[in-house]
């Protein structure tokens, strides 16, 4: 497979594939002239990377988990820790979501008058709630 096929099959940009290779997250199996060739397993590895990223791991951390062979070599405790982190994020997000919904329908003259809103403010101020990010996800046209 040359890079464009990986791009089409995985939806991952060529520049990203090169970047991942540079970082040691994936490996090309060789070159045809100057062009990288990838094995089929790279697709699975890319899925694994996407999974890791979704779970909130950094690329460097993901690189650690990747056995030299490309098979995941994952510490189970690490997974549990991450799950706990997610759990805490989830709880915060739920509080935030409910607070937002309330604020949207609240009949108080101004948001500042609303007790629910003010409670939420307190939470945020005390840093109980923390950041998260939902990226815009650039969609690419997969060729005809």
């Amino acid at each position: 497979m040359d890079i464009s096929e990986v791009v089409n099959r995985s939806g991952v940009a060529a520049s990203t594939l090169r970047y991942y290779e540079e970082k040691g997250l994936i490996h090309s199996v060789g070159r045809q002239g100057i062009r990288r060739q990838f094995g089929a397993s790279v697709l699975e590895q890319l899925a694994l990377i996407a999974l890791g990223r979704s779970a909130g791991f950094k690329l460097d951390e993901i690189a650690q988990m990747m056995g030299a062979d490309g098979r995941p070599q994952i510490d189970r405790q690490l997974l549990l820790n991450k799950a706990d982190e997610l759990d805490s994020s989830i709880r915060k997000l739920i509080a935030m979501r409910d607070g937002l919904r309330h604020a949207a329908v609240c009949s108080a003259p101004s948001h500042m008058e609303c007790p629910t809103f003010r409670r939420l403010l307190g939470l945020a101020a005390s840093g109980v709630i923390d950041g998260h990010k939902t990226k815009p996800r650039k969609r690419h046209r997969l060729g005809a």
Copy 2:
């Protein structure tokens, strides 16, 4: 209040306060000599900013919501939209959390052999699950 008092009362760094002022998110009420003076309302505004950030709004977006007076002037529809976004994030995070927990205890010889793990992989690969971020949160000593 001079800046150090705001720092102590809010836990927000001085550099951040200056940055927020530069961005128009907060305003100092004047200067004593060269030093900024802040009114008490800045604390409430900072809480509001923290809240907005937690909900996933960018500083620029938050600046939009801030009436010139510092009182929130928020479009209710915007809140509902953000709540929906959060809802979708939450669902993804829950799937991820459960998947991680399963993977951690899964008895399959390797994660790749586990159907649950593979299902999760598929989700991640298809971009159904997206990023989020839980920052390390630098803790600062609030003076006595």
